[in-house]
């Protein structure tokens, strides 16, 4: 780089920009522009057909007075609070198991990942079958132990736990990521800990978890964002086709309500405002998470 003249650098920059220009154009047209535009729409009354009419902050005001928006927001937060830790703990557990299984790891890695290939709509339908209160597999198995399972698909108290459990269906991707991180933990650390007489639990808690904390943190953030935006499974199971008129308030997630406002009721302005509020909330939650990492996450190469 030192040998390059100013004009040489410029030429290089131009070439680089030219190479990534398809992406830049795509980003500007299909991501940046719609985002900016939805910001404008959130300040209007817009029904897709007629010109948007500027209404200032009315949509935002209405949102804070709309009990259903409040309900949808609460539902989403509760779901995220239940689902994210469950996902992390289960995927960590499975990854630890896989890491211990020496020879068959390859097979199980594929096996765990396969369900991730199921289209989310199918997962929604699967939920209705597995968690069927009368004949579902889950309640049948519980019945073997003398437990009478709840009405997972209709009882408002059990709808969210059902969705959380069903969400584990696609835990495979996280398992693979954690497994990769586990493989990167230096064996010496374990060896010396064993010399010092540390047991499995102690090694896991004191060595494994801290060493893979960047990965766990990454998953924590990604899962949180996903949970806050969750839509397809809940929509299919509780609002979508095949269930055209039955629905359950307890599964009314924020994005589902947003979708109804936008595409069923044609309140595009209101839906845009909802989208922006969600964006801000996710930003805040992520910012808080990033702040927390400074305390809890260990990055190699940083000061110890």
């Amino acid at each position: 780089m030192r040998g390059l003249t100013r004009s040489g650098r410029r030429a290089e920059t131009r070439a680089a920009l030219l190479f990534i220009s398809p992406w830049i154009a795509g980003f500007l047209i299909f991501t940046f522009w719609p985002v900016v535009y939805s910001g404008y729409l959130s300040l209007t009354d817009y029904d897709v057909i007629n010109d948007p009419a500027f209404v200032g902050l009315d949509n935002y005001r209405q949102m804070f007075e709309d009990p259903k928006a409040g309900l949808a927001f609460r539902n989403t937060l509760i779901f995220a609070a239940m689902s994210v830790p469950t996902q992390l703990v289960v995927s960590l557990g499975l990854a630890l198991l896989l890491n211990a299984a020496a020879r068959a790891t390859g097979f199980f890695r594929t096996a765990f990942f396969l369900p991730k290939m199921t289209p989310p709509v199918a997962v929604g339908i699967l939920l209705l079958m597995l968690f069927n209160g009368q004949n579902g597999l889950i309640n049948t198995v519980l019945g073997l132990f003398g437990i009478q399972g709840p009405a997972w698909t209709t009882d408002p108290d059990w709808v969210k736990p059902g969705l959380v459990l069903m969400h584990l269906w696609t835990v495979g991707a996280s398992v693979i990521i954690i497994l990769a991180a586990l493989r990167a933990v230096p064996q010496e650390l374990y060896d010396s800990a064993m010399v010092d007489g540390a047991g499995w639990w102690r090694r896991t808690l004191r060595i494994t978890v801290p060493m893979i904390s960047p990965t766990l943190f990454f998953l924590f953030i990604v899962d949180s964002i996903n949970a806050l935006q969750s839509f397809t499974e809940a929509y299919t199971a509780f609002f979508g086709a095949g269930n055209t008129t039955y629905s359950n308030d307890a599964a009314l997630f924020y994005v589902i309500y947003l979708f109804q406002q936008a595409f069923q009721f044609l309140h595009m302005g209101y839906a845009s405002a909802m989208a922006w509020l969600l964006f801000v909330v996710i930003m805040i939650i992520t910012a808080v998470q990033v702040l927390l990492t400074r305390r809890y996450v260990y990055y190699e190469g940083e000061r110890p």
């Binding site: 900016v36 535009y37 404008y40 729409l41 817009y46 029904d47 897709v48 057909i49 007629n50 010109d51 948007p52 209705l128 079958m129 069927n132 209160g133 009368q134 004949n135 579902g136 009478q148 009405a151 698909t153 209709t154 009882d155 408002p156 055209t244 008129t245 039955y246 629905s247 359950n248 308030d249 307890a250 109804q260 595409f263 069923q264 009721f265 044609l266």
Partner: protein, 463 residues
């Protein structure tokens, strides 16, 4: 620094300019429409794009052929098949390149009409000399908005009572006990026919088909969910509350809605193992097409049929179905109008029924009829129905009787929100979150607010 600052300042400026240039709709109903001349004698040409119509059976293909013939050789018909995708349609209208004709459900017409997504068909009906008296009154009501007709009714759907004769007999009951004419008999039948050994529901005695059939139960109790002008919600009227209390109470008799729904979800609804064939369901009101499904997949199921009846014992059914509407900005409205007319004429329907009859005869099966939005076509097709023996013939008779006794709810500009409001109320009751009265009080408020807002927007647009 200054050039850079300038550059950055240009971003918001150009954004603002672009924003003001964007999202220009095609104008509301108040926008001027160029006078289109419709006439049965007019020679048509060009392309006709039809959205939301599929050619998956002989009824569809026969009618399409006849409609194409009516358009003449100069018109090329392009189909965008599959159910009408509202988003796709509305964006096409907003972008100024809509299809020429759409095939939506009749209960979507109010939403489309009020927002100026479709055009009124008064000129089309007069110009093409379409005799609207031949269309079913309930269907016409659903597509009338602001005093004008906005769509041409196509198919018709009605409900009848379907029951399992074996389960009825074993419980010492008859079809009259479950046709809705005496609510206390329906409740008693639900109690007597349902089976729940060890608390696990094995047989549903009676399924009142909530949430979707609340309008039917309300009407059977003498109430409409919305006023005739489509402006006032009537969701918490005493009759509607009573209807919901009764219809939801039917589930309580059988161990609660969750159990009924779980069993319903687990059933093979369209297959050989359907609930009637497996003796898992005593009775329910259901749309007439299900009779054909049952006849096809389980011809030996021990069925019994009657019309659904109101509390005075009169046959009653809620009419629904598709219709033809012309989007605002359609390039070829003349061809669209002629097509809609040709698709719904008596002769077209007869030809389609003939094709279905031929196909059924070839398979050695009975022709159970086709319900259309055209009363005269229905009379003609009924003459073509062939016997499939009992109980199926009795079922077909019930269907035609129901078809002659239909009602509908008027078009309104907040169709979807109105529907969602009462469905949410029913669901809250079914999920055990609210009592019928409280749920419907809340729904009334939500629905009325949505109606008021939508009608106010319509008034602004048309004045």
């Amino acid at each position: 620094m200054t050039p850079r600052l300038l550059r950055w300042a240009a971003v918001p400026l150009s954004l603002a300019l672009a924003l003001s240039a964007c999202a220009k709709g095609t104008g509301g109903a108040a926008a001027p429409t160029q006078a289109v001349k419709y006439s049965p004698e007019a020679r048509l040409s060009g392309t006709l794009t039809v959205m939301g119509f599929g050619t998956d059976d002989e009824i569809a293909t026969t009618r399409l052929d006849r409609a194409k013939a009516a358009l003449g050789p100069q018109v090329e018909v392009k189909l965008v098949e599959g159910e009408l995708d509202i988003q796709q349609f509305l964006s096409a209208v907003a972008a100024g390149s809509p299809p020429d004709l759409i095939n939506p459900n009749r209960d979507q017409i109010g939403t489309f009409a009020s927002r100026g997504a479709i055009i009124p068909l008064t000129a089309c009906v007069e110009g093409e000399k379409i005799d609207t008296s031949m269309y079913r009154e309930a269907a016409i009501k659903q597509v009338t908005f602001g005093g004008e007709i906005w769509a041409i009714p196509e198919f018709n759907q009605v409900q009848i009572t379907m029951a399992n004769a074996d389960l009825l007999r074993r419980a010492g009951l008859t079809i009259q006990d479950v046709n809705g004419s005496r609510w206390e008999s329906v409740t008693a039948a639900a109690r007597r026919m349902h089976q729940a050994p060890g608390g696990k529901l094995k047989v549903i005695g009676y399924d009142s088909k909530l949430p979707e059939f609340l309008p039917l139960w309300a009407k059977a109790n003498g109430a409409d969910l919305i006023s005739a002008d489509g402006r006032t919600a009537q969701l918490n009227s005493p009759q509607v509350v009573q209807a919901l209390e009764f219809a939801a109470g039917v589930y309580t008799e059988q161990g609660g809605f969750p159990k009924v729904k779980a069993l319903r979800d687990a059933a093979d609804f369209f297959g050989k193992g359907n609930q009637f064939a497996r003796n898992e369901l005593g009775a329910m009101p259901m749309e007439q097409w299900y009779l054909n499904v049952l006849n096809n997949v389980s011809p030996k199921a021990p069925m019994a049929f009657d019309t659904f009846r109101d509390r005075q014992g009169r046959p009653l059914a809620y009419s629904s179905g598709a219709a033809w509407a012309i989007p605002r900005g359609a390039k070829n409205p003349q061809a669209a109008c002629r097509f809609a007319k040709a698709m719904t004429q008596v002769e077209t329907w007869k030809a389609a029924a003939q094709a279905r009859l031929a196909a059924r005869t070839k398979e050695n099966k009975a022709f159970t009829g086709v319900l259309t939005g055209n009363t005269r076509a229905d009379e003609e097709i009924r003459k073509m129905v062939t016997s499939g023996g009992e109980p199926w013939d009795g079922g077909v008779k019930a269907v035609y009787e129901a078809n002659a006794n239909t009602f509908s709810l008027p078009a309104n500009p907040a169709d979807e929100e109105f529907k969602k409001a009462w469905q949410d109320a029913v669901n809250r009751v079914l999920n055990g979150q609210a009592e019928p009265k409280a749920a419907l009080d809340q729904a009334q408020q939500v629905a009325q607010a949505a109606l008021d807002k939508a009608w106010a927007a319509w008034a602004r647009r048309t004045n």
